[in-house]
């Protein structure tokens, strides 16, 4: 088991190096003198000089990369040129908000997606299955920022049920925090719950055909126990591998969701950074996202093995 994790970690190293090269080269895409572009509208000579110095633009390319990576390895992802705060501090401030949003979306997605998937598989070919599939396909096809806009229109503007925007920390006012996050979580969770539903359905369909399910039925167990205890537990394995993919979906979805509901999280930070031409923040955030994604992939791989005892022996 440890050897397996070790091997996976070793594979991650070249990937990380390549990502760092990629993120570093992003600034080379900027048209013209990068220092001038990064300095923004004012073109303060002092700022331009600072940027030149900071990114070593006067040195050869490999040196620039080396200095940049050296900083990153020591936790220096650069400074925001607009707020004068370290990028890492900014991310640390915003991340908890996005984590709350992501967790609530995930819970909603699981609560909706998995039972629907099970039901749809058990009732395969019936109206229930048909409707569940249509809803899932719609959930995957609807642009989630539009879903957000329509919900604001209906729930906030017309019905005045929930606030349209803003953020309240759960440590300040748990109930209001829940209320403000409910709509964004639903928006962000809708696509994921559709993915959950589709995967649960296909996993359940293949498991329901297996011998041990037939045996369990033959033993005279009730259908509920067969479905939930025998079939679902085994269908769970392929669903777990969705983990890393969903993490990406959540982060990317958070960008638009936070924008619509003006939630001051990770996604809003990246959009604001893009608008303010705060390129070092964009770079730092892409790098952080990629590292987090690799870690999530690793966790999903390990979980997959933990959940599937048959695989454990082959390692």
């Amino acid at each position: 088991m440890l050897r397996y994790i070790g091997k996976r970690l070793l594979i991650a190293i070249p990937t990380l190096i390549l990502i760092s090269i990629f993120v570093f080269s992003l600034q080379k895409l900027l048209p013209g003198d990068p220092a001038l572009v990064m300095a923004g509208e004012e073109r303060d000579p002092k700022v331009i000089e600072y940027i030149r110095e900071k990114y070593r633009f006067n040195d050869p390319l490999p040196y620039q990369y080396f200095y940049w990576v050296n900083g990153v390895v020591h936790g220096d992802f650069g400074m925001s040129l607009r707020t004068n705060q370290p990028v890492l501090t900014l991310i640390e401030q915003k991340l908890p908000v996005t984590i709350q949003l992501a967790l609530m979306s995930m819970i909603l997605a699981l609560l909706i997606g998995i039972p629907t998937g099970i039901l749809s598989a058990v009732k395969k070919g019936t109206v229930v299955d048909y409707i569940a599939n249509i809803v899932a396909l719609s959930g995957l096809s609807i642009p989630n920022f539009w879903l957000g806009i329509m919900l604001i229109l209906l729930v906030s503007v017309r019905l005045h049920w929930l606030p349209a925007s803003g953020y309240v920390s759960p440590f300040v006012d748990p109930w209001r925090s829940f209320a403000t996050m409910l709509m964004p979580s639903f928006v962000l969770g809708s696509a994921i719950s559709s993915a959950f539903m589709r995967h649960t359905r296909s996993a359940m369909l293949s498991v329901l055909k297996s011998d041990y399910v037939r045996t369990a039925r033959a033993k005279g167990l009730t259908e509920t126990i067969v479905v939930l205890k025998h079939a679902f537990r085994n269908a769970l394995i392929p669903i777990v591998t969705l983990g890393a993919l969903i993490f990406g979906e959540l982060l990317a979805g958070a960008v638009l969701t936070e924008q619509i509901f003006t939630i001051p999280g990770f996604g809003k930070l990246i959009v604001d950074a893009v608008f303010n031409r705060d390129y070092s923040v964009v770079q730092g955030m892409v790098l952080c996202t990629a590292v987090a994604f690799i870690v999530m992939n690793l966790v999903a791989d390990v979980l997959y093995v933990v959940l599937n005892p048959r695989l454990r022996d082959t390692l």
């Binding site: 390549l18 990629f22 895409l29 096809s141 806009i149 329509m150 992939n297």
Partner: protein, 293 residues
């Protein structure tokens, strides 16, 4: 998969035959429905210049934010522009963005995947690691970052989306090639002394084509949403030219006064995306050689 005779004549039969694929696709009602939606929007986008609609960028201060009426079927926007006209021209931008970005992805990603899978070795190692690295960044975040650094424009948005979707195609193609490479007909082609290029073009590419076609269709759906997202964030189509995403961006500020402004673009994106998804799913079922009628 391929008969001996066909192999000797250098003919590769795409599994399953075109006829059966077409028949299966035609009998698939949801795929046909998807095709009809896609066809409708493509027709509208193509006919945009000849349709009897006003100039999509012509402003009219007397007609600011008017609700749908007989004169303006879908209403007008915050500058008094006709929304039907903007929707039609926006269809052009959105579909173009979807198709062009997937074209970029396929044109670059598939050859790279073919080379990686066919030749293997250190080249494959390098390509695969780079692909892993690119896949480690969520698609939309990668596209946003690329679009931000390239500068906001529809062309750059297409480029950013195309490049961001590329690793998926590299990986898909490579995997398919690995599976096909050891087939007898490829061995046979090698045995009679055909060059690598001929083998790839005549024996490998036709046999890995189906999954790429399916993925391309589904990717157009993803690319259209991505373009709408980028334009929504102001990184795609620039005003005054319309695109569904940029129309939504403006509409969100007038939700109370002019809710219809936000409705049409969203419904259109939703329909087109569902169309491509249904078509892609249908193609997958029709092209799947395992599934028999």
């Amino acid at each position: 998969m391929t008969t001996m005779a066909a192999e000797l004549h250098g003919v590769v039969e795409a599994p399953p035959s075109e006829n059966r694929t077409w028949k299966k696709l035609r009998s698939n009602r949801s795929a046909l429905f998807g095709f009809a939606i896609v066809f409708f929007f493509v027709a509208i986008a193509a006919l945009a210049p000849v349709l009897p609609i006003p100039d999509p960028t012509a402003t009219n201060w007397g007609l600011v934010r008017k609700a749908p009426s007989a004169a303006h079927w879908l209403g007008t926007d915050e500058l008094g522009r006709d929304l039907l006209s903007r929707m039609v021209w926006g269809a052009q931008a959105s579909l173009l963005a979807g198709v062009v970005s997937v074209f970029i992805t396929v044109a670059i990603g598939v050859p790279i995947g073919l080379v990686a899978g066919y030749f293997g070795g250190w080249l494959d190692q390098i390509i695969s690691r780079v692909t892993d690295a690119l896949l480690a960044t969520p698609f939309l975040i990668l596209a946003i970052a690329l679009a931000a650094f390239l500068g906001p424009s529809l062309t750059n948005a297409m480029l950013a989306i195309g490049l961001s979707a590329m690793p998926i195609f590299i990986r898909l193609t490579r995997g398919q090639v690995l599976a096909v490479k050891t087939e007898d007909y490829v061995e046979g082609a090698r045995a009679i002394g055909l060059g690598h290029f001929r083998i790839i073009m005549r024996y490998i590419l036709p046999n890995v084509f189906s999954p790429i076609l399916v993925q391309s269709t589904l990717s157009i759906a993803v690319a259209i949403i991505a373009e709408a997202s980028l334009s929504f964030l102001g990184l795609g189509q620039q005003p005054p030219a319309p695109s569904w995403g940029s129309m939504l961006n403006v509409a969100k500020d007038f939700l109370e006064q002019a809710p219809w402004m936000a409705m049409w673009p969203g419904i259109a994106i939703f329909l087109v995306v569902i169309g491509f998804n249904l078509l892609g799913d249908g193609l997958r079922d029709a092209l799947d050689p395992r599934e028999t009628e």
